[in-house]
């Protein structure tokens, strides 16, 4: 299972449309390469990447924390 396939599985969740992160029908056009620059997508991207690369959970957690701890 590639990271693109895992991402597709995530994006199929209604939550993204319900929360306004994606518009109806937009899901199909989203690819790994053109993910919207939103924190939730970035978190998912890091998580999927970590799992596919068999990264340790601590390392992935650190990367996500780094991303989310950035002050504007």
């Amino acid at each position: 299972m590639t990271r693109e396939e895992i991402l597709k599985s995530f994006l199929a969740d209604n939550l993204f449309v319900e929360m306004g992160y994606l518009k109806e029908g937009e899901v199909d056009s989203v690819r790994w390469a053109n993910l919207p620059s939103n924190k939730i997508f970035q978190v998912i991207e890091i998580a999927i990447d970590g799992v596919v690369k068999n990264e340790s959970q601590n390392v992935t957690e650190k990367k996500i924390n780094q991303l989310l701890n950035q002050h504007p």
């Binding site: 998912i44 924390n65 989310l68 504007p72």
Partner: protein, 729 residues
């Protein structure tokens, strides 16, 4: 990867050198029970895993335990002194790379006269040809050997690709609720989603802690915040514990529900077995009583010859004759008595008359004697010559003096008087004549009673035989014996009770958890109200993002898993429908039912309206399991398992009828690029074999017939046993 051949040398019943070649498609090895099919399966397994399946123990045993049992008895018997080597060689061809892998396992024993020395372990030799045209090289690196073996058959795939018919039950075990879930976990990438869930859980927890720390830092009442935090932590711990309990209860509930449902399949049969068994016992008791009565009647039949005087049957005329004769005798006796009385009376009267003319002893006897001697009457003085009338008259006077009156009793009495005995006999006969007249009726009554008992006994014995046949039929169909049926019914009741109790417990726990969560909410609100100033924006966003990530990670995992289950269900149904094509009475759709703990699934058979089909027989259950096993393999889209690995199975069809055999072969032929199947279904079944060869939907590989070298009845002595292999195509 195609398994191109297996060579067996002195392996179990395969004495000497033996070889099977295989191609793509369905390869069949046909033979009756005990002809060496399972030993062939053992040979494949032995090479790869150094183990053989022990059918009696239903477990695999290593070479170090089996030792000389692996070696052909014939090879041992024919060797006086020397080494006997058993070896099996598997050759695999990776068609894409054109590389060849040759796996060999050897085992040796040494024989000196009657003494046998066994090697402790077997030896594994792996050779590889980078290209089929090149020479092979021995692979010595254990890591590389392992890698080659994993490539031939990965461990997670093994249970679904190499199995014996008997193992089908345990591969998909309806008693283990997580069997399917485990299979899905192993054979899919769902673990990647599980890893993401773990990450999301951890991030949510740490961000929550970070938020709480910040809230306490900004609190207007640090003491109150600290107290609330302690209370909050306590509550969190309690909720965690309750969640664990809830999960456990739901697991128990799911297990109990599943078990109940599995038992429900057999509950009706078990109830029937129990009812039949109760009826059987009642009939048996009745039969024993009737048998006892019958035996008693038989024994009494002989006694009645004397007790009921049957021995006198037909003697009624004897009594009549005797009676008549006795009557005559009595008449004659009376007549004779009367005659005698008359005679005595006449004689007495004559004596009396004589006494009236001259008194007795007048003249005195001495004078009378003188007159007789003198032959002259001295009274009248006349001559009386001897024996003349006057002389005799004189003599009468002498005799008369000796005469006296007779009594009747003195007259002519016999020495032994049988009259009373004869009378007694008559009287006895009279008494018995009533009995004798009833003997025929008595005999008829007795025989009628025996006849009735015999009829009843036969009827009860027939009932008993029929009921035993019914019970045995049910036992064979359901694989339940009488005590199993009893246990099953007891367990069914117990599982239902457990389900009921678990439901109540789960509801109570859910209620309690909700209450605790309400309290937690209120504490969170209080903590939030105590905050003076604003929490950092980045932190608020972080908590929000990670909560969303948590939710999406969980829901995605569930969705992906459910989709896998749906695919699996569809695949299982496709295979099931193909396999049951040949049987018009077979029906149903496989449904993978989600258990109440929301984690596990179990296969069940439903009708077109979704109603569960109960009372499945063992054949149905095995078909569902086989369909599910095939689905586990074929549902792995893109994994190419069915192209990469060979299905090797021994007697997978033995439990279901031959109606399903061709369907099974078609399905296997479609699902697997290569399969090697040991089967007895085609043995001595020309029609089925013809169908196999002519069916265009079956991609047939090589077909072999195996037979033992010696007849079955001589096989107790295995010292000359080898296996004949005949290629049928």
């Amino acid at each position: 990867m195609i398994l191109t051949s297996i060579e067996l040398n002195n392996f179990m019943c395969y004495s000497g050198s033996n070889r099977f070649d295989f191609t793509e498609g369905i390869n069949l090895i046909i033979g009756d029970n005990g002809y060496g099919k399972s030993k062939l399966f053992d040979a494949f397994y032995w090479v790869m895993y150094d183990e053989c399946f022990n059918t009696s123990l239903k477990a695999f045993r290593t070479t170090s335990r089996l030792k000389k049992l692996i070696v052909s008895d014939k090879a041992i018997a024919e060797t006086d002194d020397g080494t006997i080597t058993t070896s099996v060689i598997l050759t695999f061809h990776n068609v894409e790379r054109d590389s060849i892998y040759i796996l060999e396992r050897r085992y040796q024993i040494r024989k000196y006269g009657e003494e046998i020395f066994e090697d402790a372990e077997s030896e594994e030799i792996v050779r590889q040809k980078e290209m089929s045209i090149l020479n092979s090289k021995v692979v010595t690196d254990p890591v590389k050997i392992e890698a080659i073996k994993k490539m031939i058959l990965p461990d997670n795939i093994k249970p679904y690709m190499w199995f014996q018919g008997e193992q089908v039950e345990s591969i998909i075990d309806f008693n283990k609720q997580d069997t399917l879930t485990q299979a899905i976990n192993v054979l899919s990438n769902i673990n990647r989603f599980d890893n993401i869930i773990e990450l999301a859980d951890s991030l949510k927890e740490s961000s929550g802690k970070e938020l709480n720390r910040k809230q306490r830092d900004l609190s207007k009442d640090r003491g109150e915040s600290e107290r609330l935090e302690i209370e909050r932590q306590k509550l969190l711990e309690q909720i965690k514990q309750l969640d664990k309990q809830d999960l456990q209860v739901k697991d128990n509930l799911a297990m109990a529900e599943e078990r109940s449902e599995t038992l429900l399949n057999k509950q009706a049969e078990a109830t029937k077995i129990r009812e039949l068994e109760e009826r059987r016992k009642a009939i048996e008791k009745n039969l024993n009583e009737v048998q006892f009565e019958f035996d008693s009647e038989q024994i009494n039949l002989h006694k009645r010859m004397f007790t009921n005087k049957w021995v006198l049957k037909g003697t009624d005329n004897l009594f009549e004759e005797y009676s008549k004769k006795y009557n005559d005798f009595e008449q004659k006796k009376l007549q004779r008595q009367a005659d005698l009385k008359a005679k005595v009376k006449a004689e007495n009267e004559m004596i009396k008359e004589m006494q009236t003319r001259l008194p007795i002893d007048v003249p005195e006897p001495i004078y009378v004697q003188t007159m007789l001697d003198a032959e002259r009457c001295l009274i009248c003085d006349r001559e009386a010559p001897k024996n003349s009338e006057p002389w005799l008259k004189i003599k009468e006077l002498l005799d008369r003096s000796q005469m006296k009156l007779k009594k009747f009793e003195e007259e002519d009495q016999p020495l032994q008087n049988f009259s009373p005995d004869l009378k007694k006999l008559y009287q006895n006969g009279l008494g018995m004549s009533h009995l004798i007249s009833r003997i025929d009726d008595d005999i008829a009554d007795t025989f009628e009673r025996i006849q009735k008992l015999s009829v009843r006994r036969k009827s009860l014995a027939d009932d008993l035989r029929k009921i035993e046949e019914d019970i045995n039929g049910l036992i064979a169909d359901t694989s339940l014996n009488i005590s199993d049926a009893e246990n099953l019914l007891n367990e069914y009741t117990a599982q239902n009770e457990l389900t009921r109790r678990s439901l109540i417990e789960a509801n109570n726990l859910e209620h309690l958890i909700n209450k605790k969560k309400e309290v937690l909410e209120s504490i969170n609100k209080k903590l939030s109200d105590l905050v003076v100033g604003d929490l950092p924006e980045y932190l608020k966003e972080k908590v929000k993002v990670l909560e969303e990530f948590f939710e999406v990670a969980h829901s995605t995992r569930k969705r992906v898993f459910n989709k896998l289950v749906q695919v699996l269900e569809a695949e299982a149904n496709k295979h099931y429908q193909e396999m049951i094509q040949g049987n018009l009475s077979a029906r149903g759709i496989i449904r993978l039912k989600e258990l109440s703990n929301g984690k596990n699934y179990m296969p069940e058979l439903v009708d077109e309206h979704g109603n569960v089909l109960l009372q499945l027989n063992t054949g149905n259950i095995i078909l569902i399991k086989l369909a599910t096993i095939m689905a586990i393999i074929s549902a792995r889209q893109g994994s190419r398992d069915t192209e990469l690995y060979t299905l090797i199975t021994d007697a997978p069809m033995s439990v279901f009828g031959e109606d399903y055999t061709i369907g099974f072969c078609k399905t296997v032929s479609k699902v697997y690029t290569q399969s090697i199947i040991m089967s007895k279904e085609f043995y001595r079944n020309e029609k089925l074999l013809k169908e196999l060869f002519n069916d265009k939907e079956i991609k047939l590989g090589k077909v072999y017939m195996i037979t033992p070298s010696i007849p079955e009845n001589e096989r107790s002595n295995r010292n000359s046993l080898s296996t004949n292999i005949k290629s049928l195509n």
